[in-house]
């Protein structure tokens, strides 16, 4: 399975989904003109990634720790819906017995971003770690 790497633009975030390091991240501003077109490939990639986790667990008895880091500066309301879809998939993996953690990063002055993360966390079971950007 290949990594999914997308460079940031003025209105779309940087995305890095790497199946080798199992470190995933999305950072920057998210206000894509067509949110579906931007986020569907990420969702499809993650859905496929579940089979990697399954393969490692069943064949090598390895419990891979997966950290998904959100370091967003801004996201619009339709992006919130897609972020929820990503988090729901991670939640499903976590409930399926995989070691998944969400790392939610925000600027120290950005209470709104912190609160958004807390709101997402309340709706899900997957563990969230909150971190102030240094």
């Amino acid at each position: 399975m290949e990594a999914l790497l997308i460079e940031a633009t003025e209105f779309t975030p940087k995305v890095s989904l790497d199946p080798v390091t199992h470190r995933f991240g999305i950072s920057g501003d998210s206000r894509p003109e067509n949110a579906g077109k931007f986020y569907q490939p990420l969702l499809a990639w993650l859905a496929q990634y579940e089979s990697v986790l399954y393969f490692q667990k069943t064949n090598y008895n390895q419990q891979q720790k997966v950290i998904f880091e959100f370091r967003l500066e801004y996201f619009n309301s339709i992006s919130a819906k897609y972020i929820m879809e990503i988090l729901s998939l991670l939640d499903k993996f976590f409930k399926g017995g995989y070691d998944i953690q969400v790392k939610w990063c925000y600027d120290s002055m950005d209470n709104d971003m912190k609160e958004s993360g807390e709101d997402f966390a309340k709706l899900l079971t997957v563990p969230f770690e909150f971190s102030v950007n240094s």
Binding site: F11, S77, I78
Partner: protein, 184 residues
Amino acid sequence: MPMTTSDKTIFVNELYNIMSENQIFMTYLGDITPDITNSLIKAVKYDNSNFTHGPAAKKKIYKVIVESLENVCKHAVRLEKELRPAIFLIGKNEDAYHVITGNYLYQEEIPPFNKLLGEINTLSREEIKARYNNILLNGEISDKDGAGLGLLDILLKSNGKLDYEFIHIQDNLSFYVLKVKVDA
């Protein structure tokens, strides 16, 4: 009678005075396309002279501006034969910013939309959040790339009620005005 150059100079002067007195620092009249939306949002993003209440207030107002413009961009009536421009303006006073949008809507869209606006305008902050979360978890994304979260987001950032009006223009068209106040 068309304006002469001299008339226009006087008018610009008057407009300058009206905008300065009312602290209206950004206006746009025209078709709000995705490209225009991007340009207006960029102008807001890089404007540090008019957003004078610190980064937290700027971020809050930025969110309201983005959602307001995206709503106009997605829903405003665009007629090929006849220009039906939308209007967008931002003003401020000592303790609040005001974001105003106006755009044409087809008459048939107004009853359900008016009902929705009336409904969400009566909700408490907790009820708005509950509705927002319910859409996040269970809502569907429409073919216009919308999920119904934008107006709720605007309400949450404005800490108040939406001030809106529908002005009937002709048989099948109304002009919809939305005024949002965001405390600085």
